[in-house]
Point group: C2
Chain length 285, copies 2
Amino acid sequence: MLDPRKLLLLRELARRGTIAAVAEAVTFTPSAVSQQLSALEREAGVPLLERTGRTVTLTPAGHLLVEHAQTVLEQLERASAALAAVRGGPSGPLRIGAFPTATRALLPAALTALTAAHPGLEPMVSEIDPADVSAALRAGELDVALVHEYDFVPPVTDASIETEPLFSEPMYLTDRPSVADARDDSWIMNKPGTLCHTMAIRACQAAGFEPRVRHHIDDFDTILAFAAAGQGVALVPRLAASSPPPGVTLTRLPLSRRTLVAFRRGYGEHPAIRAAVAVLRPSAL
Amino acid sequence: MLDPRKLLLLRELARRGTIAAVAEAVTFTPSAVSQQLSALEREAGVPLLERTGRTVTLTPAGHLLVEHAQTVLEQLERASAALAAVRGGPSGPLRIGAFPTATRALLPAALTALTAAHPGLEPMVSEIDPADVSAALRAGELDVALVHEYDFVPPVTDASIETEPLFSEPMYLTDRPSVADARDDSWIMNKPGTLCHTMAIRACQAAGFEPRVRHHIDDFDTILAFAAAGQGVALVPRLAASSPPPGVTLTRLPLSRRTLVAFRRGYGEHPAIRAAVAVLRPSAL
DNA sequence: GGTCAAGCGTAAGCTCAGCTTATGCTCGAC
DNA sequence: GTCGAGCATAAGCTGAGCTTACGCTTGACC
């Protein structure tokens, strides 16, 4: 394997012209430089330099190797710079909370981007319902969280929590043209206590009825499978409705769900939080 | 500076999973690999691996460095391959003959390309008139030569010399619409004994007159400068007529000059000759 | 032509990086 | 509980690569 230290000397020779000048530049003796270049020549198997007068000049093969040496050394520089960035950049554990759909749909790509950009970070993900996020953030159990808001559920405003909106998505209803048309159907909803559950109940109340809830299921894929099996109707966000099972028709409703990222107030400029928010923005996904 | 030997070990660790496997692959002891990777970690200033169970796994920073290591090692491989190509490729002196215009207009770029592709070659150029090329090639004073043929001068066919046509170019006449119109002018021609001189004489004879030759000059730029100074008319090839001096108008004639590359018969497959012909073809220029 | 400094190469010696061997620790399988 | 796989550390040895010393060649200057 070619030794980059020797390649560096060759490149410096190409720049400076004499072995003595190279030696001075790297604070070696000219003898050391001469020996190193001789060794490089031996390894290369081709003459790289030749005496001309009392200095040396590069042969064409020498110039060729200088070109390659240049790219090798640049690449090594880049590697060192990347390590320096890791040393200086955000590092350590980063506790991320997210609602289940986001965990499945958003986080894989986001985490890949996050650790690629900041290898020192150790993201740790916990599924958590938006209703519980504020407490977890305040308690320091989470550093940053993905939450959502629904039209029918006023957002909890907590002075110690800051949010940044990420995107908005429409809601879909299974097999019925509107919520009002599902008055007499069985409903499949998320577990009580979750924001999605509250949203679905309120949506029905706004349509003038109390829904009959038969199933309590948190996973939207399972909910859609139940709907396909004729077990009832359900409200699902677009994020969970990208590939509905056959037999389920989805109707877009004039309801929307907004996804936000939440963190403790004042931590928006914390490097790790900044990095996490950056990879979660729609433009990064 | 990062040591590529250590980077190689890191990359192998990413591939093979255990230090023991890496050690076997590079025929070291596991201890040596462990020490090297520890040293790399120290130089990097970031944890690169961590014990998990009884094996080690790469940290995100470790994976990042593996990516860079990969490109560094590939680049070093390329450099080695280039040197191997130089060792195996054509090398040594290559004596090239060329007529003066070609020396000026064609060879600089061609030689650059030639030594870039085959740094082992040492091209040595001699200006030589096409009329003398056959003898020089046969005598071994040249290995390859650029020559030209004119419409009025039948090409010398020599059984021991092989040629390959490169390109054809039109001839231009200064300040007169045709050769016949220059019957009464003074002429500026190349030195007697050159092919260009013979060509010009024959062209005049074909137009029905013997030219009155006032100047004998070999360099076409000088010839054009003389023409601009009103010293006479001249025939010049396009290669020499790319930027005529002000005051000279050039008329394209139905005469052409063909440039060929010549070498000893049977040497067309010689690596150095092949390489030289390749960079002289119009597609390479 | 003689002298001298600049520049390079080689020989000899020394230092330290990096290998091996030896040993101990931890983890996971049986 | 036992045992082997896997890794880390300590100790010792070898060789790569540095310095110092010296000689040769070249080109400038007198």
